[in-house]
């Protein structure tokens, strides 16, 4: 009798449950399964951590060899005390997973081209790009190499993996990290391969920019012709202050790379009638991935002991790339920033020494043009014969859709990045194979494993000699008083401009002629000037016998700034080094502003333009957060570049490179009658720099007035620095931070990029160390420890790092919690 209402009610209830149990589409994004997401016992509420949460824990794990004590301090930094090295890495894996599991999953998904699997077909272009670049291939090679040749590193990575998985295994589904619930998927087991994938991503981030830039550069050369190209994209940097001081004498090189006889006609001056690529790559690493590091000797410090500083500049993200920890075992005691996803400490110090890294920027990635016999891609032309390819299958799973299979023809150069199967918009129908040092089996994390244990300069030198990719400038300071810096990696012995453009791949003539032996890589130890430093500039002057790569990869000005300061500093303290890391002096503007003023004719300007120019001239040259002068300077300079380069480059619809700022600046300083300044679009008149500058200033004034209206003339408001959640969701990010700095500034804080970890280590008997990163130890957006350090970081402040023996730490007031790891229940 009540059958109808029963059926009706049952249908409504079921339909509602069903609707709340699927991911509805809202705009372009997929909403979480709302019923699940909002259920207080299953969904996001479970991730809302108590603000006074207790992190004491007792964990039993059969994989352990002994017991491990972890003391967690007031900033949620764990201090691991283990009786066995392997146990320390097991616990490191466990803690990385406990606090950063989602990011570990997500970052390795990006690296291995598996985003489509969780986010759908929208992510296919990025996934396909990473697959074809050989990211998975490279990780597999590293894994095989370590498994075959390095039992100790295998055991280390295995222990780390077991630790991550021990955490995943005990994880209640209701306690999954927030983002898994938001995006509706679940974590899978960690594997050693994922660790190598993560490291591959770092190689991509720090050396993979060539994958995009080599195409743009080839386009630009084709568009302008080599002679004009060589002028506007000169490899000569007038004001270079290299890492290894000018005038250093280098040994005779053991490899003398020979430029092929036909290089001019077949390569440098070759102009492709059809542009190589017409659309940019779906993704490219940030141009400003770089860093500062330096060490000052005891001769320059107040204490007489060295001080080391290191601040890597990378994308600013939440959860942070970095996770702080101390690892203490009978073999070593180390503190610093680690990568969730990898064992050991990456930038840090131990009880004997401290180390830091900056990116070397050397070109280790090239494209070779390939001629396939036919569309099967089974054979390609090489040295006068058809050579067989092998095929690599990459299966991309796609959410709510069919799998996509990439069949990649592997050549002796490396994987075929572009061919008929992969968007020709980026290669315009040509076949390009990749040769990249990241794809030759590396030793993975062994360098860091050994640095964690290094006692002296010799140990450091041995540890870094194993490092292949991405090439880094490793800085060192020891308690015993040594300071050193060495640029290390697998660097190609190149002839001038080899690999700057796409190279012919039909025979051996353009191939790499060798990898520079480690002992010929640029290095310096205990120099007379009392400091060593690097800021991604060219490591050497032109007397170094090998070609470093196109100059656009080497920013000039931060290095000048660092060395200028260090040269005149004495009686240095750790606090002075903190001040230097957060210094906002704009050395580029210091040169460029007077050069600009030479060309500005105030009388010819409108009253608004005059006001903006005055704002710029009254500016103190510091990119401080409320300075308006820097905003005026930046907009005026950008407009000038637009006026000068615009005509040469504007006619092209294909991706081109913009000339570096120093090219224009050097010209302005040297030569007022510069033909490039003329706008070739106006046939009836000749513009000189003076007219172009005036034009630039007027154009800039329009923009500046608009900014003034929005109240965005102050530098920090204009720049709007943000630390973005990895999904770019604003609600999970920290937006509009009050911080100065910028490009060319030691405090290299841009919009979403900058000092991702700041560290200063004073090598006194009891090490005095300071540091922080713009994030927090917990990756959980529902934790008070999610973004704890962000405000402090923006203010340029530091935390004193707690680096103590187990007994001392137990007594420390800053010790808050105790996590016990035991082999069996006792």
């Amino acid at each position: 009798m009540r059958l109808l209402p029963l059926i009706a009610s049952a249908i409504v209830t079921t339909a509602l449950v069903f609707t709340l149990n699927i991911q509805l589409k809202i705009g372009n994004a997929k909403a979480p399964r709302l019923g699940y997401f909002l259920s207080p016992q299953h969904g996001f509420w479970k991730n809302a951590e108590k603000i006074d949460a207790n992190f004491d824990a007792s964990i039993v794990a059969n994989e352990l060899l002994g017991n491990v004590d972890v003391y967690v301090d007031d900033r949620l930094v764990p201090h691991i005390y283990a009786d066995h090295d392997q146990d320390a890495y097991f616990v490191q894996g466990y803690l990385h997973a406990k606090f950063r599991l989602w990011q570990m999953d997500f970052e390795t998904r990006v690296a291995s081209g598996r985003l489509s699997e969780i986010a759908g077909a929208d992510k296919l272009p990025i996934d396909r790009m990473f697959r074809r670049l050989g990211m998975v291939y490279g990780a597999e090679k590293t894994e095989a190499n370590i498994n075959e040749t390095n039992p100790n590193m295998k055991a280390t990575v295995d222990a780390y993996t077991a630790g991550v998985n021990a955490y995943i295994k005990q994880l209640d589904p209701a306690d999954l990290p927030f983002e898994f619930k938001l995006m509706n998927y679940a974590p899978e087991d960690w594997t050693p391969k994922k660790t190598y994938l993560f490291l591959m991503f770092m190689s991509y981030d720090l050396t993979g920019r060539s994958s995009s830039v080599d195409l743009q550069r080839t386009n630009t050369r084709d568009y302008l012709g080599y002679d004009l190209f060589d002028k506007l994209y000169t490899n000569h940097q007038d004001s270079l202050d290299p890492i290894i001081p000018k005038g250093t004498v280098y040994e005779k090189p053991s490899i003398v790379p020979v430029k092929p006889l036909n290089a001019d006609s077949a390569y440098l001056h070759k102009v492709n009638s059809v542009a190589f690529n017409t659309v940019d790559m779906p993704e490219a690493p940030d141009k400003n991935n770089g860093s500062n590091n330096w060490a000052v000797a005891g001769s320059k410090t107040k204490s007489g002991r060295p001080i080391l500083s290191s601040d890597p500049h990378l994308g600013l993200n939440l959860p942070s790339l970095w996770y702080e920890m101390q690892i203490t075992t009978p073999t070593h005691s180390t503190y610093g920033a680690s990568f969730p996803g990898s064992p050991a400490v990456i930038i840090g110090f131990n009880d004997s020494l401290a180390w830091g890294v900056t990116n070397a920027g050397r070109d280790v990635f090239d494209y070779y043009e390939i001629k396939f016999k036919d569309t099967t891609e089974n054979e390609y032309w090489f040295n006068g014969a058809w050579k067989a390819t092998t095929k690599r299958k990459e299966v991309i799973k796609v959410k709510d859709s069919l799998d996509v299979v990439e069949e990649i023809a592997m050549t002796h150069w490396g994987p075929t990045m572009f061919d008929a199967h992969y968007q020709n918009t980026q290669s315009n129908g040509r076949n390009l194979a990749v040769q990249w040092t990241a794809l030759t089996a590396s030793t993975g994390v062994e360098t860091f494993y050994l640095l964690n244990r290094a006692k002296n300069y010799d140990d450091y030198l041995h540890a870094i000699s194993l490092w292949t990719c991405p090439g880094q400038n490793f800085v060192l300071a020891t308690k015993s008083g040594d300071i050193a810096i060495k640029q290390q990696g697998s660097f190609v012995a190149r002839w001038e401009r080899q690999g700057d453009f796409i190279m012919p791949g039909e025979d051996t003539s353009f191939q790499w002629q060798g990898i520079i032996p480690t002992n010929e890589n640029p290095m310096i130890k205990n120099p007379e000037r009392g400091f060593v430093s690097s800021a991604n500039q060219k490591s050497t002057d032109a007397s170094y016998p090998y070609y470093l790569g196109a100059a656009s990869a080497f920013p000039l000005y931060r290095g000048i700034s660092v060395n200028m300061h260090l040269n005149k500093m004495f009686q240095i303290t750790a606090e002075d080094m903190q001040k230097l890391q957060t210094d906002n002096y704009n050395v580029f503007a210091a040169t460029a502003r007077p050069a600009l003023m030479k060309y500005i004719q105030l009388d010819n300007l409108s009253s608004d333009a005059k006001r903006m120019v005055t704002e710029m001239t009254n500016w103190d040259l510091y990119n401080s957060l409320n300075a308006k002068g820097i905003t005026c300077f930046k907009i005026i300079w950008d407009s000038l570049e637009q006026a000068v380069w615009g005509d040469e480059l504007a006619g092209s619809a294909i991706p081109l490179l913009k000339p570096e700022a120093y090219v224009l600046l050097d010209q302005m300083l040297k030569d007022t009658n510069w033909s490039i300044a003329d706008d070739i679009r106006t046939k009836d008149k000749v513009e000189d720099l003076k007219t172009q500058v005036t034009l630039g200033v007027e154009k800039a004034t329009e923009k500046l007035l608009a900014l003034e209206k929005e109240n965005k003339l102050e530098w920090a408001l204009f720049k709007a620095t943000r630390v973005l959640h990895l999904t770019k969701t604003p609600a999970l990010s920290r937006m509009d931070l009050p911080i100065g700095g910028g490009v060319n500034i030691i405090n290299a804080t841009k919009e979403n990029h900058g000092p991702s970890w700041r560290m200063v280590v004073h090598l006194t008997d009891e090490i005095e160390a300071y540091g922080l990163y713009p994030g927090g130890q917990s990756g959980n957006p529902g934790s008070p420890y999610y973004d704890t350090f962000v405000n402090y970081w923006a203010e340029g402040k530091y935390y004193r790092l707690l680096f103590l023996s187990k007994e001392k730490l137990k007594q420390s007031e800053r010790k808050k919690w105790h996590m016990q790891f035991q082999k069996t229940n006792s």
């Binding site: 209402p5 029963l6 709340l20 149990n21 207080p40 016992q41 509420w45 809302a48």
Partner: protein, 118 residues
């Protein structure tokens, strides 16, 4: 009395099946339905009891979690969803959702008994 007992049972069982993370989030729909079958009430009363039972439980759980969390996560979620970043709106919407589902489940259950009794 039936009404009060239904409410209490509904809240209690919803909480109980929610403890097991492996059970689906909508398990309380089943328990509410069973309660309404076991304790016959007029459809409207059954709906109200189910709605109040689940709604109050969800409100109480969300509220207590949110207080202990200082609204850190609820503010973020209320921005994503989008509820203008208002954690109180989020808790109300959240509780209403539980209430509607719980009520509908109990309503369905009440019709089962009504059919038998007729």
């Amino acid at each position: 009395m039936k009404f009060i007992i239904s409410i209490l049972l509904s809240g209690l069982l919803t909480y109980a099946v929610g403890i097991y993370g492996d059970l689906p989030w909508w398990s309380f729909v089943i328990t509410n339905l069973l309660i309404a079958v076991a304790i016959p009430q007029k459809p409207l009363m059954a709906f109200a009891a189910g709605a109040i039972g689940v709604g109050l439980l969800w409100a109480a759980l969300a509220l207590s979690i949110d207080m202990a969390n200082n609204h850190i996560l609820s503010t973020k979620v209320a921005t994503i969803l989008p509820l203008n970043g208002s954690y109180s709106s989020l808790i109300i919407v959240n509780a209403l959702l539980g209430a509607i589902l719980g009520g509908l489940a109990s309503l369905t259950g009440s019709f089962v008994r009504a059919r038998k009794g007729a």
